[in-house]
Amino acid sequence: MKTLRQKLFGLSVPALSALCAFVIVLMVLLIIGDIVLGGWGTLSWEFLSGVPKEGMTAGGIYPAIFGTFLLVVIMSIVGVPIGTITAIYLSEYASQRSILARVVRFAVNTLAGVPAIVFGLFGLGFFIQFVGIRMDQVLTGGVQLKWGQPNILWASLTMALLTLPVVIVSVEEAIRAVPRELREASLALGATKWETIRKVVLPNSITGILTGAILAVSRGAGEVAPILFTGAAYFLPKLPGSLSDQFMELGYHIYIMSTQSPDVEATRGIQYATTLVLLVLTFTLNFAAVFLRYRIRMKSIR
């Protein structure tokens, strides 16, 4: 016979674990609920399409939406091809035991674990003060400061570095899901390795590459630290028109409104609504990535 104490203990374990699990759900609901309730009233077409007015206590966030969009597009143009090529190298060319492959893999994993603010500082030190300043010296003799200051190009490159591991891991997974039989079919027809990759492996991993790109964009859109010193601006009267312009960004906009505004209370509604826009954006992207990844898994099982 079990004692009462043993019985109570037996019941308390599942109850406790269920409670812990529920706390997570509760947190998500609280955060989303608070943001939706706080931001819903401010959200309007004018808010999405207008520019900030009256010291950011009124008006819209269109420049920040546009800046975020431009940031992730430039980031993807740079990061997705580099990530894809790296994934091709790791899964197709490198022998799994080669030292180089291990070093690359180690670097990818380390890169994934570096805090975002370190990327921001690296971007400032490398892209702006090292590359940018030298570009100015070569291009204008150092008379004009054009590339040696924060801009959207350096911010996008910094962000591309940050999201590179995400792309590499996704693409590699998709490439490995391409059945060996298809590669063998191609090679047995006299195709070279590269022809096989180009005509069989890559077309069959296109969803994986897309997933990687979406996850990278979703991650990039949500990070503020990497662009803090490399290109994001407090307020700009006009949209960025060239790669050497600074830009506004959603996450950064929330940060400055809640910490740098002369009248934080007056910006509360805008803060909430901006956060809501950012959340919807990243959630949508994440769901799209999850859906695509699910389809890849199904395909590799079949």
Partner: protein, 254 residues
């Protein structure tokens, strides 16, 4: 080319995966325009031997080969042999039919296209003649845009044969091409093999004794990485010299 009358000769061909010896000094002569069957129990090395002939084992990281494989008297493991050219000459059909997830047309045109043929008219001719030679043309000619994966298992395998024929190989290696097919589809593949041998040298691995007896002219019995007996098919199946061969072909083991 075939001064000695053989299309393929292997001389003391050995192959190991890591420390495991899969082929042990195998020497076999394969005649042009005949069907040579490789039989034996699972793991006896017959598939490994087949894949050694067009160097598909190169794809396996720890596979090591020694000895010679002469195709038209040239050792294909020599350093200056272009493996891509070898595989165009020595085509392969796999156990599991593996059409690309593309249209029928693009499947068959894949080989010619990587060989630099892009002229639409030439490609269409190659596709038609290849499908005809693979006895699939009449069944699919109305819908060449259909995905290769939409075909039945037997049709998929004939599509793979058509795809292999499209690059004009001289040798066809078949790795249990009908093992996943129903009897009717199998009969069609066997009939096709019989028709193809007038133009191609065919080497076929099979688990099916009756199939080896029906389609092949010569049969090699593999056991534990060695050839136990090699002779014309009739002799192997009616009066084998070795006791092991007799036991295997009469179904006493394997």
């Amino acid at each position: 080319m075939n001064t000695n009358g053989y299309k393929i000769r292997t001389i003391n061909l050995s192959l190991s995966y890591g420390s495991k010896l899969a082929l042990n000094e195998v020497s076999l002569d394969i005649k042009p325009n005949h069907v040579t069957a490789l039989i034996g129990p699972s793991g006896c090395g017959k598939s490994t031997f087949l894949r050694a002939l067009n160097r598909m084992n190169d794809l396996i990281d720890d596979a090591r080969t020694s000895g010679e494989v002469l195709v038209d008297n040239i050792n294909v493991y020599r350093d200056d042999v272009d493996v891509v050219e070898l595989r165009k000459k020595v085509g392969m059909i796999f156990q599991k039919s593996n059409p690309f997830p593309k249209s029928l047309y693009d499947n068959v045109a894949y080989g010619p296209r990587i060989n630099g043929i892009h002229d639409t008219k030439t490609l269409a001719e190659i596709v038609e003649s290849s499908l005809e030679r693979a006895a699939l043309w009449d069944e699919v000619k109305d819908d060449l845009k259909k995905s290769g994966l939409a075909l039945s298992g037997g049709q998929q395998q004939r599509l793979c044969i058509a795809r292999a024929l499209a690059v004009n190989p001289e040798v066809l290696l078949m790795d249990e091409p009908a093992s996943a097919l129903d009897p009717i589809a199998t009969a069609k593949i066997e009939e096709l093999i019989y028709e193809l041998k007038s133009n191609y040298t065919i080497v076929i691995v099979t688990h099916n004794m009756q199939q080896a007896a029906r389609v092949s002219d010569f049969t090699a019995f593999f056991y534990l990485g060695k050839i136990i007996e090699f002779n014309d098919t009739k002799t192997i199946f009616t009066s084998p010299k070795e006791k092991q061969t007799e036991d295997y072909v009469t179904g006493r083991f394997g």
